[in-house]
């Protein structure tokens, strides 16, 4: 009971001290927001199109005729390459660009590509080389998408051509095949001619066969239209949330701001006890070390809660005023704030540890910032790209907090995510508070 009472007295004292240093409080709140904005911008750029080089060894002409259609292949490539930026380079330039990281991949169109494409005898190949960087898998996927889009365009042309042949066989006319023109009678006309020939006893059998063949070809024509695009994707752009207002951005803004704020605050107020020469007075039995630790964690939690509420309200107001689709999920805000409490407390415990280890306040604040940035950046690396970064990140609160906030804000059934993440944050609070408690003698001993 006394432990809690003493912790409350010290927390109140710290809040009064903070109120009397509004500049510090404003800086503490604005600096993380600025960092959040910058990281958000960088993360936005991470979604921008990577640069890919194309080496044209076949000297593709401006117009290429394939299956009776004339294509501008270069234009087609530019058109379908929506997710990458294409640079047409020589082989040597491309190799150099890949080495220096100027491009993340190189597509090589081999010599004889167009002839092979026209012959339809076998599928021509393009080679794709990529660097071993973290985004190589993403770029490979985008290259697969590019080839898929090109194939689809060509496939449509081939099928249109095939459907044309079927139509000629059914109805007659002139067909161009491998560069030569052929005049075709057509099943329908052949059937009419045979039907008129009453003297031939087998004509009726041939007419029945032609009926069957014509029906089969008609069905083939219909199927060919369907095979060209078995599933169509209708894409429409609506007035949805942009990156800046996305759930992920809100979660990042919260997690990043509170990470820096709670760490720096926990470290600074802990070290300030030493700076003011009071830590040794408290540590001689006046206040238990648990009380002192609890007071600093409580302060970091209270300020995190206040700043977290302001951030959520600010996003909410922007979303509502801007009439953004979906609106701000106001009913979920208490759930998010529950996460903020656990998150701020766990980070406050780490901050208290830094404050106890540092020699004085300035070192503590600098130390907190030096620790905060790697924690945040580790948490931003997708686990699929670098699993070890994910494991290291697990022992810090950032990624758990970010997942908690994101899920609490927008998942339809958030408990499956926020339940385990809340347990993680609670566990990390206990872990880091225990470590900070071990470091307390360094703070309180004269």
């Amino acid at each position: 009971m006394r432990t809690l009472r003493d912790a409350a007295l010290l927390t109140r004292k710290d809040l009064v001290s903070l109120r009397r240093a509004p500049l510090v409080l404003i800086l503490l709140a604005c600096y993380p927001l600025l960092i959040a904005g910058l990281v958000g911008t960088v993360a936005g750029y991470a979604n921008s199109r990577p640069r890919v080089a194309i080496v044209d060894l076949d000297q593709i002409p401006p117009k290429v005729e394939v299956a009776g259609h004339t294509y501008d292949l270069k234009d087609m490539i530019d058109e379908v390459a929506k997710n990458v930026r294409i640079s047409w380079l020589t082989k040597a330039q491309a190799a150099q660009a890949l080495r220096t990281g100027e491009v993340v991949g190189v597509i090589t169109i081999p010599d004889g590509f167009i002839n092979q494409l026209k012959s339809v005898a076998s599928s021509p190949e393009v080679q794709f080389e990529t660097s071993q960087g973290g985004i190589s898998s993403r770029v490979t996927q985008q290259m697969q998408a590019l080839i898929y889009n090109l194939n689809r365009k060509l496939q449509e042309a081939y099928l249109e051509d095939a459907i044309g042949y079927i139509s000629v066989i059914r109805n007659g006319g002139t067909a161009d095949f491998l560069g030569s023109d052929y005049k075709v009678l057509g099943i329908n006309k052949a059937r009419s001619l045979l039907a008129a020939d009453k003297k031939n006893p087998d004509a009726a059998k041939v007419v029945r066969f032609l009926d069957t063949a014509e029906g089969a070809l008609r069905a083939t024509e219909v199927s060919a239209h369907a095979v060209a695009q078995p599933i169509k994707l209708a894409t429409a752009t609506r007035n949805g949330r942009g990156w800046l207002l996305s759930a992920q951005m809100q979660a990042y803004a919260l997690a990043l701001t509170i990470s820096i704020l709670a760490l720096a605050l926990g470290a600074a107020v802990t070290a300030s006890e030493r700076d003011e020469n009071v830590a040794c007075l408290l540590g001689r039995g006046l206040v238990s070390r648990v009380s002192l630790l609890a007071a600093k964690v409580a302060l970091a939690t209270i300020i995190s809660l206040a700043v977290g509420t302001v951030i959520l309200l600010a996003f909410g107001v922007i979303v509502e005023v801007g009439d953004i689709a979906g609106g701000q999920p106001w009913q979920r805000i208490p759930l998010v704030l529950l996460g903020v409490v656990l998150f701020g407390a766990a980070l406050g415990a780490i901050g208290t540890l830094i404050g106890a280890l540092a020699r004085e306040g300035r070192s503590a604040t600098l130390g907190a910032l030096l620790v905060a940035l790697p924690i945040v950046l580790l948490g931003l690396i997708p686990r699929e790209i670098a699993p070890p970064a994910g494991y290291v990140s697990d022992i810090f609160p950032f990624s758990h907090g970010e997942r908690f906030f994101s899920s609490a804000l927008y998942d339809r059934h958030p408990w499956a995510t926020i339940g385990p993440e809340a347990l993680w944050l609670l566990g990390l609070l206990v872990l880091w508070a225990a470590v900070a408690r071990l470091a307390q003698p360094r703070l309180t001993e004269a």
Binding site: L9, S17, R20, E276, V278, R284, A446
Partner: protein
């Protein structure tokens, strides 16, 4: 014979491989003012901090008699700069679990003539030292440990501080103070202990110390 309020038996302190304080025996009895003297780095502040319970001894035993309490004035002022003197006193009175903390704090404020409405960070060094002494006296300690209490005070403030120390002794308490000022030691101490490089090199009356100190 005066009651022993605090007794230290062979207490010592090491910082890694450095010996800051060799084993020392010390007793503080009711009604006495003991001066702790010695050059810088002699181990005076280390001994004070151990006696105050702010630093763990590497060896030895420290015992505080019965209900005796220890008040400590560290060498550097110790209070919260962004609280006023009154707020500091109220906070520490509450942490000391005193009854009527606001009343106790106001009495201390008046006793030490401290301004109530200014943040402690903006007080003069003398006022800050007096505030630290007022905090040390909260909870009515029997033993008062003063680490170079007058180093940064003007003569008027020194007189005020010694008046408070004298009052404490007359009330049956004991004072252990460290000082570099021989005149102060001769005037206020009833006993002198001298340290050098962490070792006890002298123990006796102020008169004996004066003679000892003049010896080559």
């Amino acid at each position: 014979m005066a009651e022993t309020l605090l007794a230290a038996s062979t207490i010592s302190r090491r910082f890694g491989r450095v010996i800051a304080l060799e084993p020392i025996d010390l007793e503080l009895r009711s009604g006495e003012a003991v001066a702790l003297v010695g050059p810088n780095g002699a181990g005076k502040s280390t001994l004070m901090a151990i006696l105050a319970g702010a630093l763990k001894a590497s060896g030895g035993r420290l015992s505080v008699t019965g209900s005796a309490k220890v008040g400590w004035l560290p060498q550097r002022p110790a209070h919260y700069g962004r609280l006023t003197a009154l707020e500091n006193l109220v906070l520490f009175a509450r942490l000391e679990q005193m009854k009527g903390p606001e009343h106790e704090a106001e009495q201390m404020l008046e006793r030490f003539s401290l301004p109530s409405d200014r943040l402690s960070a903006y007080l003069s060094i003398g006022n800050r030292q007096r505030l630290s002494l007022a905090i040390a006296l909260l909870g009515n300690p029997n033993v008062l440990l003063l680490d170079e209490p007058t180093a940064s005070l003007d003569p008027k403030q020194r007189a005020l501080l010694w008046r408070e120390a004298q009052r404490h002794i007359e009330d049956g308490g004991a004072v252990l103070f460290s000082s570099q000022n021989i005149e102060e030691v001769e005037r206020h101490a009833t006993r002198v202990i001298a340290l050098d490089s962490g070792r006890l090199v002298f123990g006796g009356s102020p008169e004996e110390y004066t003679v000892w100190e003049r010896e080559p």
